[in-house]
Structure formats: C-alpha cells, structure tokens
C-alpha cells in the first residue's frame, strides 16, 4: 500500500509504514476531499486544527484580530493545498502559515501605527486575563505556543503533539518548562500591578 496525494502536480509517493501511515492516509483523504471542495471535510479539518491556529495567532497578535486571521490562514491553506505532498506535514505546514500570517499582520500594523486592541468581539474579558496573556506572550515562542494551546484552547498534550507534528516528549517538555517560566513570571501574587483585583493569587 502507498499513499498518493494528487492535486494535479508532481507528487511524491509515500510507502506504507505502520500506524503512522494509517493516520496519514486518513488525513490525506480529508485533505484531498477539501481540495475538491468538500464542505464536510473542510468542517472536520477546521474542527481539528483551528484551535492550534488560534493559539499560534493569539500568542502573537492582538486578540480582536485573531478570529479574522484564523480564517485568513485557512484560506491560504485552502488555496495552497495543492502544494502539500505529505499529509503528515500538514500540521507543521499550517502552523508555519499561521506564524507567517501573524508576522505579516504585525508588520502591517506597525506600518499603519495601529495600537493593539485586546477586546475580541466585544466580549467582556477582565484585565487580569489579558495581563496573564501578555506574560505568556513574552515567553520564548516554543513554550508560548504550547502553553496557549493547553491553557487557552484546552488541548491535551497528546492533541498538541498530534496537531503540530511535534513529538509527545517535546510537547511535554515545552509544557513543563513553559509552565515553570510562567509561574516564575507570575510570582507568588498578582501577575501585574495594573490588573484588577480578582481574589486570586
């Protein structure tokens, strides 16, 4: 058995290789269906990967822009799906698109001298939450992304590994080192002197 992802371009053939191939084949079929315009397949793909994309963006750009950028990322992925030959690489590929989109957005925001606005969709989010998020955003990228996936998106370590393509060991290390750093930065009391009183330590 071998998996062949054909989108009308030169493709590589992937020999079967145990359970990983089973997962890749299933994702490969979903990707093929999405490329063919299958809405159900797209909805499944979005459900599986949008939290990862949201986390990567939220770790970098103002919250109010994130939902819009998530759609931009999926649009970019949809239009470039033909260039993806290895379904195993989809998670990392999509993450790279999200990081690039965030970088572009920040550059454009700087050029336009826009001030960050942290009010996503008008929802009431308290200042302490944003203060903590700001601290998370200052963590090294590796830890930041993994922590946002875990603490904001509620993904398990295994889910993070499955979606990003990182090894479970790397995810576990990133989670624990990131959490250790976050604890140090949060300190024993409040995360920031400017936050509202919340009763939490």
């Amino acid at each position: 058995m071998e998996h062949v992802l054909e989108f009308g371009r030169p493709v590589l053939r992937f020999p079967a290789a145990g359970s990983r191939d089973q997962g890749a084949r299933s994702l490969g079929e979903t990707l093929q269906a999405v490329a063919a315009g299958d809405q159900d397949a797209f909805t499944r793909l979005y459900a599986d990967y949008s939290r990862m994309v949201h986390a990567i963006l939220l770790g970098r750009v103002p919250g109010r822009d994130v939902d819009d950028l998530v759609q931009d990322v999926f649009l970019t992925a949809y239009t470039r799906l033909a260039g993806l030959r290895n379904p195993d690489a989809f998670g990392g590929w999509l993450a790279a698109i999200a990081r690039n989109r965030a970088t572009d957005h920040l550059r454009q925001a700087r050029e336009q001298e826009r001030l960050p606005d942290e009010m996503p969709g008008g929802e009431s989010i308290d200042a302490e939450t944003f203060a903590v998020l700001e601290i998370v955003r200052k963590l090294p990228e590796t830890y930041r992304e993994t922590l946002v996936m875990r603490l904001v998106e509620g993904m398990s370590g295994q889910e993070i590994a499955d979606r990003t393509g990182l090894s479970p060991g790397s995810v576990r290390v990133n989670l624990h080192r990131g959490m250790k750093l976050l604890r140090e930065k949060l300190g024993p009391a409040k995360p920031d002197t400017t936050v509202h009183e919340s009763g939490n330590g």
């Binding site: 809405q39 459900a47 939902d67 993806l84 990392g92 590929w93 690039n100 970088t103 603490l151 976050l182």
Partner: protein, 344 residues
Amino acid sequence: MDNDYLWDPSAPPDPEVERLEQMLGRLRSTTPAPSIADLVRRMPGHDVLRWRTARFLGPALAAAAAVVLMIAASWQSMRTLHLAPGWDVASLEGQPRIGSAIVADIGRLAVGQTLTTDASSRARLDISTLGAVTVETNSRVRLVATRADHFRLALERGTLHAVIVAPPRQFVVDTPSSRATDLGCAYMLHVDEDGTGLLSVTAGWVSFESKGRESFVPAGASARTDPDHGPGTPRYDVTDQRFRDELDFVDEGPRMEGYASALAYVLEHASVHDAMTLWHLIPRVAPSDRGAVVDALAARAPMPTSVSRDAVMRLDKAALDQWWDSLGLQDASWWRLWKSELGK
C-alpha cells in the same frame, strides 16, 4: 495515567493550572467553521470579479471595477516585489543577528545578508510558500537567492533544521563541501568549522551533491560530507556504529589505509535494509572492487531480469536506475528529473 494534569486534562487537576485554564479559557475561539464559499469570498478581488459579471452593472461600474482590479494588481505586484528579496526572521531564543543588527523579535533577512546565532540564540526563517528553517545555536547562514521557485541558503557553519513544503528541488542549501537539494522533506544539516558536515533526513528525501558525487538520502538515513570527498555514502541511522565507521573508511577512498578491510566488512555485514547504501557504493569504489559490491547488492536485492551485470559494471545509468527502482524505495525517474530541470 501518569498524574500529569498539564499533559493530560483528565488527570487530577493541579489547582494553579486549573485556575489559569479557567481564566485564559475565556479567550478560546468559539467561531464555527466557515463555509468554503465564505472563505473564497475573502480572496482579494473576489467581490470585484463577481460585481463585474453581474448583469445589473452598467458599463461605467464595470470600467470602475476594472480600474480597481488594475490598482489591486499593481499593489499586489509592488507588494510581491517588496517582499521578494528577503525572508522573515523570528528570534526563538537569545539575540540572533542579521549582520550586526540584533533581531529582538522579528526581522528580515535580505539576499546577501548573513544571520548569525551565538551559543544562546536561535532563529527561524519563514517563507509561507516554502516552509520554515530553524537556525540553531552557533550558526551562520547567508541568504543567497530567493525567487518564486528557487530559494537558496549557504550554511557556513552550525546547524539548521528545515521543514520544506514547497515542491521538490526549489530549496537548496550550500555547504562548504556539498549542496543539499530538498526533494520534499524535513531534515537536519550540520556544518563544522572545517567544512565537514552531516545531513540527517527525517521525512522525504534530500539530494546531497558535490564534486560529481551524488547521494540520495531518504528519511531515517544520514550522509556525511567533507571538503575533500564531497557527500558520503548514505546509511540508515539504525545501522550499528561499526558499520557506519567502516563505511566512513570506504568513503575516504581506496588509497586510505584500511580501505580494503573496511569495504569487506561493509559488504559482509550489510543487511537487506542496506541495499540503498550498497547501490550508492557501486560507482564510488575502485573499479577493481565494483564486482564485489554488485554481487553483495545482488545477494540482498536481486538484479532485475532486464538489467545485465555488464551494464551495471559499466555504470550504465539506465541499468542502475532500474535496479534502484526495484529496491522499492522510490522511482529513480523523479529524482533524475530534478537534475535535468536544474540544468536548464
């Protein structure tokens, strides 16, 4: 399972992590999946195109739309030109530098510029149509070229990890002793100060080439390189250390002391899995040793009936390719193709 709530949310909760989850979880996205049609409507120019074709639009509005399209096209063209000559750089740790300038968060590496990391800094190069390249500590990378279908770096020293999603053969990394051409893959490339290096492939294939030698390195395999000999013979990483050491001796060439015994060891201890390695050795060993290598490969991967031993001994490319194809690794045609296209 292992009582690690940070890893497994179904484990007994860690109160502090749980509190952060509850707080930050309010930022979680609840936006449902858009329809593909909605997504496509976000594409620049989509509405303009749709309006242009609507029956109720008068000629004046159509002309206006055309002007908008021209402006949009010009803007896109200018934007592409603006972005084309460089790559985005993100600092991952410490203070990487572009030239003498520190990259605090993000920066841009222009063609001809060099990105340098020290013992405590790392950086990532991003280009959305290509993939990402992580530059590890103590490394020096120069951007040689970036065009729509050709991206070239020079790794002068240090280590990089590349995850490439662009079509095969668009991404090339020069090292002091070999050229690594991506054939759709993820890999690690390391170069020491003296120009020696190591390529390890984790997914797909990489071509490693210099001085008329070429190695096609599959996932799970590595190849050394040095300025005197170019790329070494690829070997799977699961082979034992002795086998790899002896293969290194063979790569030094027939004049190297111990070459004969090293070759004998490799031919005797190669497994069926090492057919890929033996195939690469056929043109590399001395002509007087070629027959032994051919026999060793034939014992592990029978020569196709359409291939003659004489043709292989003459290093007939078609014969070698047919034998390669029979190894069940990948058809030779596609990686031969990249060379012919590069040579255009």
